[in-house]
Symmetry: C2
Amino acid sequence: MSESLPASLLTALPDSSVWDATELATRDPGFDARNFGASALVRPRDVEGVAALVRFCAEHGISLVAQGGRTGLAGGAATSAGQVICDLGGLNRIEEIDPFARVAIMQAGVTLGALQEACALHGLDPGIDLAARGSATIGGMVSTNAGGIRAFRNGTMRHRVLGLEAVLPDGRVFCDLTRVLKTSAGYDLKHLFIGAEGTLGIVTRVAVRLDQVVGASATALVGVPDAASAQRIVRHFLGSTSARLTAAEILWRNFAALMQRALNYAPGQLPLDAPCLLVLGLGADRMESARGVLEDGLAAIWEEAGIVDGLVASSDAQAAAMWRLREETQQIEHAHHSPPSFDVSVPGGAMDAYVARIEAGLRKLDAAYAPYVYGHLADGNLHISINCDGPVSHERHTAIEDVLYEGLREAGGSFSAEHGVGLEKRDAYERYADPVKQDLARMIKELIDPGHVMNPGKVVSGK
Amino acid sequence: MSESLPASLLTALPDSSVWDATELATRDPGFDARNFGASALVRPRDVEGVAALVRFCAEHGISLVAQGGRTGLAGGAATSAGQVICDLGGLNRIEEIDPFARVAIMQAGVTLGALQEACALHGLDPGIDLAARGSATIGGMVSTNAGGIRAFRNGTMRHRVLGLEAVLPDGRVFCDLTRVLKTSAGYDLKHLFIGAEGTLGIVTRVAVRLDQVVGASATALVGVPDAASAQRIVRHFLGSTSARLTAAEILWRNFAALMQRALNYAPGQLPLDAPCLLVLGLGADRMESARGVLEDGLAAIWEEAGIVDGLVASSDAQAAAMWRLREETQQIEHAHHSPPSFDVSVPGGAMDAYVARIEAGLRKLDAAYAPYVYGHLADGNLHISINCDGPVSHERHTAIEDVLYEGLREAGGSFSAEHGVGLEKRDAYERYADPVKQDLARMIKELIDPGHVMNPGKVVSGK
């Protein structure tokens, strides 16, 4: 190219917006400072624009990194000089909501929050929720197979996607916009693009399954001796059909204590020094019945579960305060600079033993280590932050990972539950993923993206 | 090989049972007479036995067809001379049921019925059900991505599988026995094997997600003017959290009339000549409340939905009689010899128009054609049989398919909802599946099974 890269892009793609590195430097890169390390950002207006950009990059041997809301926590959208960002923000139209088929069709750059709002007008909901709802995009959530609070009931993004459209590394468009749940019409290749973090294709359009909204939701905060006790409570409510368990979040003592101090939370009678706290959400047709079922259910299981103490929120404000204890996790970053943070799935029956084992293992690395542990009890997804400033040395990071990940796959868990692999977990992927699976993944990456156009160096090992 | 194929197999695989063609000819081939066309059947005892069999076949250039319960309806397990059957019936152990993690780990040859029984002891259920439960195996259900009556709520087999183990065409074992819902740890390649009908690997072990059993389930039979009316009823019950909709099956008049005559069904006051019948299942903690919610809900939606008449079953026997109307579909085969039968997914809002369109299109082919249409209303999966003896000529079959499948993909539906592609829908796959998807599928088959060892000629087009 005789022109600069941004100038060439503008010439080749006149319908797209283009920012150069100077402009990028003045913008907010989102969660990860490395997101805007590229030489240019292109914002196409439609799928044809994305395909034209992909073909341009493929022809010129330039690598392309798709970005949505830039809320990813694993460095999957990080870029470097010479690379081009494909910003999906221009593809932000909700194209259709069908209230009888309970399906929404949208472009990939629509935010979760915008989708939730549009669905709510029909008494529907995409069935998935997470704290970054205001900026996380559906395309990004598909690409990382996002999970969140309600996955234990509704599944992860993979389970919500009915169909998708994606631009392949050769510029062709893979179009499987099925909007029905049942299809056994050959290999279901859309699943290759779900959770692939933009390394096999760029997701441009998605059909998502919707659920009817619950009339009202009651909240409780319950102190329990351990996760097994909390699981007994969850099991009790899952077994009832007279209300719908909508959330079951667990906070271990270190995390709960930090949040309580940071948020100045004072519930009065509730002993926040229980070994674990459980935040429960229960949906029913009306608020009184939701609160009633929650109170009756806790009373029924109180002794069997060994509940220390519990409180059903009597107002929306009290419920919101309980939820802040769980959700305002940026308090960890206020207390520690870039603390090493992890995201694992632990099989249900093994949770207490797992937490005890990692606490002991981390203490061996550093007697001051006392991790903050919290997460989604009912699906086993735990978030873990170390109570120290980061980044720690590569060697120390690896040692912490070994404590957290050792034996996890063999037990049926996962070293990456919902944040993806990106750059941060590439090393762990190579150490902990099944070698046959890694080999197949490399072969498939090479097959579909032989020129390594799309998000090279992320997720899969290889060139 | 100097010996015959069965003798060579027995020598090479001393731990497996081997049947030759003579023995096969004396056995029940299951739903499809072509299932036992092979030269030999091998029944390994474990995954190592399956891997040894695969290596033997790969080395000798023999093609291998995996079989479970032989209940498939699309010819996916059909075999011919020179081929070897890998019978998974020897891998029939349920290895673990974890009531707190709500997961079951089992070998692929376990039947759905056996799994349901074992789970019921813990108050749990695999969340998927179909009429062939007594013989259909979990491995076969994974391989065809089975759906059934409860998929509208719980998803298809793909949504129930947490992890799986499969033997690849080169004899290596792909092992992803994750037993948690949330994992974003690289490409989720287990989805390649789900719905691939044994063309990419042989599934040997599966981890399945379980749900808590509903306390009691009430049944109603409702006459409605059309599918849109039935969908209003479904929407009403889905929006309630005080009970759980467990089934919503729809029967168009031709099918309902056939079944009523064949089963001599006489409900008394119910006008079975309504344009459509809806069989509803509603779960609640106790039978009285299930019946109460069903009665109250029907009363509340009666006028809005234009209900013709309806009856809530007052006894188990009455409920069973209602279910027989929907489930004893072999009555179609009693009325017609091998009637041409189809299995499509139609997007929710388009169902009445679809049925009207195919009825008119079929009449144009033959004025006597009046299809039997019935199926799973809430997920759009319709089963269609033509009221004539079969098999019809290839040309006529293609003409019928064109009436049924034309425009279906573009509208977001599927020409194969839950029966798979197998042999029966190979032609339709080539005519109706997205060409880019077909090309990717061929590339992946070639990548993973370059020697075409596994179930050649099924699902994907190619060599």
